[in-house]
Amino acid sequence: MIDSFRQAFELLFSFDKELWQIIGVTMRMSLLSTTISCLIGLPLGALLGTKQFKGKSLIKKTVHTLMGLPPVVAGLLVYTLFTHYGPFGSLNLLFTVEIMVIAQVILITPIVIGLSSSFIEGNSKPVIETARGLGLSRRKTAMLCLSEGRSSLLSVVLSAFGRSIAEVGAVSIVGGNIQWKTRVMTTAIMLETNKGKFSFALAMGMILLLIAFLVNALASFVVKEPAHD
């Protein structure tokens, strides 16, 4: 274990080109898929959390089911759609970072919708009631809900990012773990483990954890909560 720690630091500070390229692909894929998922999922979560409409219960059940979608199933589905003979084969996206992002968006968006709608449903009622009682516009009310619930919504975004950066099944199917192209930290760890280089794989795992920690710390700093607030 101590050896793995030492190796992790040596790896990081050796400025190994391939390692930093893998870190770059990992970050690009995770941040892009998290951003797209949040852009789609947060408004839908707000809609599901605040509006009453026919079929809402069925939609919620579907979202909750998709939150547990196995990554390999998502990967297989995307692979089938984008393979050479599939309906989107002509786009030639298979084994690119772009298709890894698509697979991740399919996996993460239900998580963003499910978590944000639960939070909004449970916490925004007094905010909405107060704001509407004051005659505030829908836009201002929505902004107040976002502002008041920013720390909880940050947790939703970080959960999505955590799922994205730690995912291996879908990205290895659609990305192919190609060196210098689609290899990310998780697929690299899997490869090194298969080669029997456990210590090296563990060191990569520690770097992955460190990245996740730094992103969490940065996000918490940006959306920091003053004392009492």
Binding site: P126, E129, G133, D229
Partner: protein, 219 residues
């Protein structure tokens, strides 16, 4: 100024509000009392436009402000909380002074006690101009001094703006001291309606009599 005709509201199969006719004049302070589930909050939410009636018609001015039963403290200090929906900071500070909250003006609103928060929530409404104030149990969390300050602030606002004030209450003192008129609701219907002391001392129906007896009042 406010007129409701044959207004009904149902939740599931239960009728929670059934008002054949209700008129409220400009400048009038009306207290609504009744047991839990008698339709007081539903009536105020309906008048605030937060819910729609299933039947009937309602005429009321557009400029109305509503304070919910569950008061909410937004992020930031008291002045920021008060001016959230409009109004200027100087007026907000005057209101804090009147409601004995000025020592806390720059403190985070989330550090307030329940009674202080209720007074803060009232300030949010009083800092603005309106024709109708709708207050859902405005003194429920206040102590005797707090309730007195709230009552005084409401009456001062009414004098200044000549607006109608509709409030729900479980307090006979608030009804007797603060309102021009008391309406007791029973299962969504007005059971008694009149000058507060008259309604309290000479209840119109047996039900109203038994309800008022539960208040153990001394008028």
């Amino acid at each position: 100024m406010i007129k409701l005709e044959n207004v009904k509201k149902r939740y599931a199969e239960r009728t929670v509000l059934d008002i054949p006719l209700l008129s409220i004049a400009q400048g009038e302070i009306v207290a609504f009392a009744g047991a839990n589930g008698s339709g007081k909050t539903t009536l105020l939410r309906l008048l605030a436009g937060l819910i729609q009636a299933d039947e009937g018609s309602a005429q009321l001015p557009a400029e109305r402000l509503y304070m919910p039963q569950q008061c909410y403290a937004f992020r930031g200090d008291l002045v920021k909380n008060i001016t959230l929906g409009g109004g200027d900071a100087a007026k907000a500070r005057q209101l804090l002074e009147a409601l004995e909250l000025s020592a806390l003006a720059d403190k985070p609103a989330r550090s307030l006690s329940g009674g202080e928060l209720q007074r803060l929530a009232l300030c949010r409404l009083l800092v603005r101009d309106c024709r109708v104030l709708l207050l859902d149990e405005p003194t429920a969390a206040c102590d005797a001094r707090g309730a007195e300050l709230v009552l005084h602030a409401i009456q001062a606002y009414r004098e200044a703006h000549d607006c109608a004030v509709l409030m729900t209450t479980h307090s006979p003192v608030l009804a007797a001291k603060g309102a021009d008129r008391l309406i007791i609701l029973n299962s969504g219907k007005p059971e008694a309606d009149g000058e507060p002391r008259e309604v309290l001392l000479h209840p119109a129906t047996e039900w109203a009599k038994s309800f008022i007896a539960g208040w153990k009042i001394e008028c």
